[in-house]
Symmetry: C2
Subunit: 206 residues, 2 copies
C-alpha cells in the first residue's frame, strides 16, 4: 500500500485511471501509451481491466507492455476480480505480480479470506469487492443481524487488513449512506470508489 | 448444455477431469496431451484451471493448444471463476469462447445476475459458485430468512436457468445435507460437484 500512499501524497491526486481498451489491436496499441502519457500527471494509479486485454489475441503481451510503460512511482492495479481458493489464488498472484509486474489486484471475496490473502504479499496491495453499484447482487441480501451481506464482507476485510495492512475495499460511489456505513465498519482500510469522478454531479446533492 | 448431456449419455460417465498443470513449461507441454489422451474415455468434460495457465509465460497459447487437443464431442469448461459486471463479463466470454474455444465457464456470482448472464450464450453453458467446500466464506453467512447466502445464490441461479436453460451450480461435495438442500432449491439446474470422486470414500457413510 505504501507505493500508492506515496504517489497520492507526491502528486496530490486520488484519481485512478481505468484502462479498458476497445477497438482494433492496432489502434489500441497506439493509443494506450498516449492515454498513459497524458493522464500520468493526474494519476494516483492506473487500473487495466484484465478482460479487455484477454479478449484480444495478443492480450497478455499487450498488457505486460502497457504495465511496463507506466511511469515509475505510479502503481498499477490489475482489475481481475479474482475469486478462487487459496492454491488457485496463489497462481493468479504469480500472474499479476510476477508475469505482468502489477502492484495490486482487485479480488472477489465470495469464497472468503482464502480467496484474498494470497494476494496480500508484502509490498503489494489488494482491493476486494464489498459493495458495488451493481443491482440485484448477492451483496445486498439482508442477514439475520439486519445488515446487508456487503457489511459482513467489509468486516471480514477489516479483520484481514488488521493483520496484513494492505487490504482495501471496492466501494461503489452511488450510495452515500452505504459508503458512510462501510467507512464506519472499516475506519482504516483503503477504499477504491469506482466512477466517483463520473458521478461527481450527483454527489453534490448529498 | 446439450453437448455435455450428449457426452454424458454417450460415454456413460459423470467425471470432470481437471487440468491444473504444475511443473516446468517443457514438462507440462509434454504431459497435458498424454493426460487428455489417457483420461478421455472416462471424461464427461475437461476443466482447465485458468490460473495455472496464466501464471506461465506462454499460458494463453498453451491453454488454446490444450483446448484444441481435446477430442471432439467432449466439452471444455474453462475454470476462471469470472465475477465482474456485464460489460466486463462480455469480454471474458469472448476470451473463453472466441479466443480459446471453450464450451463453458465457471462464474463467481457475488455481483449478481449481471455477472452470470453474459456467459449464457446459446450452445454454451455456465457453472456458477453457490456452495463451495471453502471455509469462512461469505456463502455461509445466515440471512434474515434463516437460510445461508448460498441458498439465496442458488435461487437466483434457478431463476436464471428457467430463462436461459444453460446455467448450473458449483456445489461442493463435502456436506451432503447442504447438497441435498441445493437440489431441492434447484431441481432442474446442472450441478458440478468438485472433488466428489476424491471424497467417494467419505460419501459411502451417507
Amino acid at each position: 500500500m505504501q507505493k500508492l500512499l506515496t504517489r497520492v501524497a507526491h502528486a496530490n491526486t486520488l484519481l485512478c485511471v481505468g484502462l479498458d481498451p476497445t477497438g482494433s489491436d492496432e489502434d489500441v496499441t497506439r493509443r494506450l501509451p498516449q492515454v498513459i502519457a497524458e493522464t500520468a500527471p493526474y494519476a494516483a494509479a492506473f487500473k487495466p481491466n484484465l478482460a479487455f486485454f484477454l479478449s484480444r489475441d495478443n492480450g497478455v503481451q499487450l498488457l505486460r507492455q502497457t504495465i511496463a510503460g507506466v511511469p515509475a512511482g505510479i502503481p498499477v492495479i490489475l482489475d481481475g476480480k479474482f475469486g478462487d481458493i487459496a492454491n488457485t489464488a496463489m497462481h493468479y498472484a504469480q500472474f499479476a505480480y510476477d508475469v505482468l509486474g502489477a502492484d495490486a489486484v482487485t479480488v472477489n471475496p465470495y469464497m472468503g479470506a482464502d480467496a484474498v490473502v494470497p494476494f496480500a504479499r508484502p509490498g503489494k496491495f489488494v482491493f476486494a469487492l464489498a459493495k458495488t453499484s451493481n443491482q440485484s447482487a448477492v451483496q445486498d441480501a439482508i442477514l439475520q443481524s439486519g445488515e446487508p451481506v456487503s457489511d459482513f464482507t467489509a468486516k471480514m476485510l477489516a479483520d484481514l487488513d488488521a493483520t496484513h495492512r494492505n487490504i482495501g475495499l471496492v466501494a461503489g460511489a452511488t450510495n452515500a449512506a452505504a459508503l458512510g456505513r462501510l467507512r464506519q465498519l472499516c475506519p482504516r482500510n483503503g477504499f477504491w470508489c469506482p466512477a466517483l469522478a463520473r458521478r461527481a454531479a450527483t454527489w453534490r446533492r448529498y
